[in-house]
């Protein structure tokens, strides 16, 4: 088959992408730099910390060649504060993602020009290293957390059971939000639905269904929408130049 998987990223693909997240490791043996397609790996010298992609960290861990330093957001205190935020402070929206790197430049003064020509985004942001901010869930939070729990349980900041329990609570709160959000948008009749803060796995799980509902509403409403546009066009024409002027004043 040209492509057997449904369009859009599947959970397995999202987990694959998450393995590109950089994580911090503490090597247990010296390993020379390796010339990879994605660039050279750092030379590993115990006990100096180094940053490598998650897939490599897990390979090293499995062979007892390194330990993994869990990201600060995975600490129980951090997870608890996020749960608090998701539950109490804003029971509707997802808690915000980590601030973009352009806003956390060293000293807070070096303003990056607003140019995204190489705008880096997950999984290539350093949001799962030891230096990542605590209290924010990165885009690939579930995949990274599950992988670390499963394969580096002894490197966790608390018992795997405790961390797992907190993650499960968080996942449930957020799943309920995603479910209710879809009905809260009045059936996607309005434009520009925001899901800021949603995780990659949460999206992958619900993607096809959500988009299917939105496309269904749009298809059923196509006639009504066309009629509305015609009416608006007429109203605009009646108001004439006046409207055009105010359009320009808005400086668009």
């Amino acid at each position: 088959m040209a492509h057997p998987l449904p369009p859009g990223l599947t959970p397995a693909e999202v987990a694959f992408l998450a393995e590109m997240e950089m994580v911090t490791i503490v090597p247990r043996q010296r390993i020379e730099s390796i010339d990879l397609l994605g660039g050279k790996t750092p030379t590993l010298r115990p006990p100096h910390r180094a940053q490598v992609p998650l897939w490599l960290a897990l390979l090293l861990k499995k062979q007892n060649r390194a330990n993994i330093v869990p990201p600060p957001w995975l600490h129980p205190a951090s997870l608890q504060s996020i749960i608090q935020r998701e539950k109490v402070e804003d029971p509707v929206a997802f808690s915000p993602p980590p601030p973009p790197p352009s806003r956390i430049k060293i000293g807070g003064t070096a303003e990056r020009i607003n140019d995204a020509s190489d705008g880096v985004s997950p999984p290539f942001l350093p949001s799962c290293t030891a230096d990542a901010p605590s209290g924010f869930l990165p885009y690939h939070w579930q995949e990274v957390a599950e992988a670390l729990l499963a394969h580096a349980g002894d490197d966790m900041p608390a018992s795997a059971g405790e961390v797992r329990g907190l993650l499960r609570d968080l996942a449930e709160i957020r799943a309920a939000k995603l479910r209710s959000s879809s009905s809260a948008f009045e059936g996607f009749g309005d434009a520009g639905v925001s899901l800021t803060g949603v995780g990659a796995m949460e999206l992958a799980d619900n993607r096809a269904f959500l988009l299917g509902v939105i496309d269904g509403v749009r298809t059923l409403g196509a006639g009504a929408e066309a009629t509305r546009r015609e009416q608006e066009e007429e109203e605009r024409a009646e108001r004439g130049d006046e409207f055009n002027d105010s359009d320009e004043e808005m400086g668009i």
Binding site: A2, H3, P7, G8, L9, E13, F16, L17, I31, E32, I34, D35, L36, L37, G38, G39, T41, W55, L56, L59, Q63, R65, P100, R103, R112, I113, N114, D115, A116, S117, D118, G119, V120, S121, P123, F124, E186, F188, G189, D190, A191, G192, V193, S194, L195, T196, G197, V198, A200, L203, L210, L211, I214, D215, V217, R218, G221, E225, R228, I252
Partner: protein, 221 residues
């Protein structure tokens, strides 16, 4: 003066990322975008796909050189290299096959204008054209040749029914903003104009998201 030099001057972080890493980021973004967009996208600029393909070839040759009579136990580097190689091969394969799926589904559409055709690589154009003509021959020999000549076409657009299937550009997609930007969006009951902030995630119609994605203000996720 090279555009890169200018950018480096105004933004010291530009190109602090080495080429290999940027290629990986661009390749990953191209793969994700192609998997998520309802229509076939342009090949990534700067010969990215060819370059990655060449690098994969070279890496395979290197693996072949490195192997031989080595014990895998002692050759950790080789294991790492092969693991990474497999990841690259997967991304490129998945990217190309998603493209093939779209080309299959709407072949005549993508061959119908120069602009659309320019989204395909040379190899893809050759493949799509050959397949389409085999398909037409197949229909002809199966039944179409018995039809009156005016009914033998596969590209009639008359009378409310277009034979050339095309992708639905109003299909919904998920995007993440890569910088602060105005987001225009159409809905059934209402249209919107939002001052979007970097990092925000929206559900938009592809036709509304497309201009943002094309000027790198947003990416498909």
């Amino acid at each position: 003066m090279d555009i890169d030099d200018i950018l480096r001057e105004v933004d010291p972080t530009f190109h602090s990322i080495p080429q290999e890493q940027r290629d990986l980021q661009d390749l990953t973004r191209a793969y994700v975008a192609e998997r998520c967009a309802p229509e076939l996208l342009h090949y990534p600029p700067g010969n990215l796909i060819d370059r990655v393909h060449e690098n994969i070839k070279r890496q395979i040759e290197m693996v072949e050189e490195m192997t031989g009579n080595m014990n895998p136990k002692t050759n950790f580097a080789l294991i790492v290299i092969q693991n990474e190689l497999e990841r690259y091969r997967f991304i490129l394969r998945s990217y190309l096959r998603e493209r093939i799926r779209k080309i299959h589904k709407h072949t005549l559409h993508y061959l119908s204008t120069d602009e659309l055709r320019s989204r395909l690589s040379e190899i893809e154009v050759r493949y799509a054209t050959a397949r389409q003509s085999r398909l037409h021959e197949h229909y002809m020999s199966s039944f179409l040749a018995e039809f009156p000549p005016q009914l033998q076409n596969l590209n009639d657009t008359a009378g409310n029914l277009n034979m050339i299937d095309s992708p639905d550009l109003d299909s919904a997609v998920f995007v993440r903003l890569l910088r602060d930007t105005l987001v225009e969006s159409r809905g059934v009951d209402d249209d919107g104009l939002i001052e979007g902030k970097e990092g925000q995630i929206f559900i938009l119609r592809w036709a509304d998201a497309k201009p943002l994605v094309e000027r790198s203000s947003a990416e498909l996720i």
